[in-house]
């Protein structure tokens, strides 16, 4: 045991004395949370729109002023006929056009139902979806106010269920769990695989192997400091997310921390698996980046919604650990649900860790060859 702790102490020296390692450990998460939280959101402010009001009624004016005062939209142009819509889009000046048909108020009074057309520039798919969602929400809340309780709503507009939890479509809510998954994977898997490969490269691994330390002690000694530091990191991201970006914590903090620990354990297992194969730091680094970082960014639903991916990629996304972790974090923090809703994802992460560790153990050698 004394041997083991001497080893762990040595690992801490490695980490704390290397400025680059420290920077990656603690600078990276900070920057990424802020970057993704503030700058790279798909939240939209002051999108330019055009309005074609053929009704010129109190309703149309009310809805228009509500849209424009929401902060999401800015009026670029008042159109006077349908012909003006296409050129407005063509010039690329407006992202969305709201059309109040000529008999809007009359129909509303007569049939208890009327239509507002919302046209969005779908060349920017994500923006278009967000904009129409914002507009739909605003229009719907207006229509709800018009109705006495118990009556059918006069305007039938479709509301998507996921907006129940994120009615303002805040970007930070989507990105922070993703950043958390990414940073934890990066720190845990990349760092452990690189430090083990470094010992192989410098030849110190040979001496360690000849020593009475067992291979298991060497591995756990490598992993323990990173487990602690990654956990600290995870906590840091949660605190940043709650205090700086205003993400709610609706569920249990204990469960969130436990799930974070499970995910770190999985990431460290992946790091060990890589290091049982990679002989040099460079190989370890590329392996970590290629098989971990890229799929995590592109396939976990972190940046691109899984639902809009082609079928083969959707299937592939099932083996990305971050996908499950992101939905766990979202579930706990935003929806406030407990383990009874998240046991499936938890089980998947647990299963992945078990399989990966089994493979690593099989690869583990007490000799070089």
């Amino acid at each position: 045991m004394k041997r083991f702790f001497a080893f762990v102490k040595k690992e801490f020296f490695h980490i704390l004395r290397d400025r680059r390692t420290l920077l990656i450990l603690f600078g990276l998460p900070f920057v990424q949370v802020l970057l993704f939280g503030f700058a790279l959101t798909n939240e939209i402010k002051n999108a330019r729109i055009a309005i074609l009001d053929l009704d010129h009624s109190q309703h149309s004016r009310q809805i228009t002023s509500r849209l424009l005062s929401s902060g999401y939209f800015k009026l670029e142009q008042q159109l006077d006929s349908y012909k003006g819509i296409e050129p407005a889009f063509r010039k690329g000046k407006v992202k969305m056009v709201i059309v109040f048909p000529a008999r809007f108020t009359a129909e509303l009074a007569h049939d208890q139902a009327a239509q507002i057309q919302v046209l969005a520039d779908a060349s920017e798919q994500n923006t278009a979806i967000s904009l129409t969602n914002y507009a739909t929400n605003i229009i719907q809340s207006y229509s709800a106010e018009l109705n006495p309780v118990g009556m059918n709503p006069p305007m039938q507009l479709d509301v998507q269920s996921r907006m129940v939890f994120n009615p303002e479509l805040k970007g930070a809510f989507v990105f922070v769990p993703g950043v958390m998954a990414m940073v934890l994977l990066l720190v845990s898997a990349l760092m452990t695989s690189v430090t083990i490969a470094r010992e192989k490269e410098t030849g110190t691994m040979e001496v360690l192997m000849v020593s009475p330390l067992t291979q298991m002690q060497i591995l756990f000694g490598k992993v323990l400091p990173y487990l602690l530091l990654s956990f600290l990191n995870g906590c840091m991201i949660i605190v940043l997310g709650i205090n700086l970006l205003g993400i709610p914590l609706n569920g249990s903090l204990g469960l969130l921390l436990a799930e974070t620990l499970l995910f770190i354990f999985l990431a460290l297992s992946i790091g060990i698996l890589i290091s049982t194969i990679a002989e040099t730091q460079l190989v370890a680094m590329f392996a970590s980046l290629l098989i971990m970082l890229m799929p995590t960014i592109f396939l976990s639903g972190f940046i691109f919604p899984i639902e809009s991916m082609p079928k083969p990629l959707q299937i592939l996304s099932n083996i990305i650990p971050a996908k499950y972790f992101i939905s766990i974090v979202k579930g706990i923090m935003i929806k406030g649900v407990g383990l009874q809703y998240l046991w499936k994802e938890t089980l998947v992460l647990f299963g992945m860790a078990t399989v990966i560790n089994a493979v690593s153990l099989r690869n583990l050698k007490t000799r070089l060859g």
Binding site: K2, R3, A6, F7, K9, K10, F13, H14, R17, D18, T202, G203, T204, E206, V207, L208, M209, V210, S211, P212, L213, T366, R367, L368, G369
Partner: protein, 309 residues
């Protein structure tokens, strides 16, 4: 019981025969040198002996323990210093040493006696990071780390490669002092001039042992007349000598050429031949063969042997 016993050991990597049917015995308390050029298989043989590699064929024992079967029991009894000085560059001198001591289940204080001679030279720098030490200092620290658990057999793989001449000399003095305390030492080196420092040496090339003897014994293996020859134009001299009818072999050895000739050739015959070829400042003297001459001759003989057979 012998300290190291190697019995017909072979090891191949992806088609390359790194160690080929090697048998060797090192006695207890010997300072044994494994001499050979880069790629001779020295490091592979070392890794087999320190239990890092499994031999494909054959058996090896260290301290009477099998390197494959008894590796767990054997590991605490050997000290190993790999070719690259395996230290942690970001740990200080003292931290490196105390780390290796703890890992091997001991403390610096417990075995200080053994490393004192070497460590006193390092002590002024004990808070310096190992990465900032000179080559000679790194080598001394690596030796201390390999010694700190008081091993019975010490394996040093090319400990003097990349170290200056003064540090090399000091290093060998240290090895002699350790050897006098009864430590068995197996050391490998590509430098022939270090062979004379060992009790016995084995010459190794392309995975095979060419000869095992005392340094003097190896020198005596060389029986042909040998001359050191020097002239103003070295390049033309080597061309002309290699073309001469009395020459067997001719190699450059520093400022002189070493010429092996057919029997009954004298310095006068060579001088006459060279003056005919208009060489100036010719200097010829018969010399006694060194280990390098023996090794060159054995290598050539071995090369011809394997070409024919």
């Amino acid at each position: 019981m012998d300290a190291i016993q190697i019995d017909r050991v072979s090891k191949a990597f992806a088609g390359t025969q790194a160690v080929n049917d090697v048998s060797l015995t090192v006695k207890k308390g010997e300072l044994f040198g494994l001499i050979g050029p880069d790629g001779a298989g020295k490091t592979t043989l070392f890794k087999i002996l320190v239990t890092l590699l499994r031999p494909d064929q054959g058996k090896a024992q260290v301290n009477g323990m099998d390197v494959v079967g008894d590796f767990r029991k054997l590991r605490p009894l050997i000290g190993y210093m790999p070719g690259r000085f395996s230290l942690y560059p970001d740990l200080s001198v003292e931290e490196n040493l105390s780390f290796f001591a703890t890992v091997f289940g001991t403390t610096i204080a417990a075995n200080y006696e053994l490393i004192r001679d070497i460590y006193v030279q390092l002590e002024p720098f004990k808070n310096r990071r190992a990465g900032a030490l000179s080559g000679g200092m790194k080598q001394k620290l690596a030796l201390c780390c390999a010694l700190i658990h008081k091993p019975d057999v010490l394996f040093l793989d090319e400990p003097t490669t990349g170290v200056d001449a003064v540090s090399r000399k000091e290093f060998w003095d240290m090895l002699h002092r350790l050897n006098e305390r009864g430590l068995t030492i197996l050391v490998s080196t590509p430098y022939m001039d270090e062979a004379g420092q060992c009790d016995r040496i084995a010459l190794m090339q392309t995975g095979q042992i060419l000869a095992v003897d005392t340094p003097a014994g190896v020198e005596n293996l060389f029986q042909k007349p040998l001359f050191a020859v020097k002239a103003r134009e070295t390049y033309r001299l080597i061309q002309d000598l290699r073309a001469a009818p009395f020459t067997e072999t001719c190699y450059a050895f520093g400022e002189y050429l070493h010429l092996t000739s057919l029997p009954s050739v004298t310095a006068e015959i060579i001088r006459d031949y060279l003056i005919q070829k208009y060489h100036e400042a010719v200097e010829i003297k018969p010399i006694k063969a060194g280990i390098e001459d023996s090794f060159m001759a054995l290598m050539q003989h071995h090369g011809e042997g394997s070409q024919h057979g």
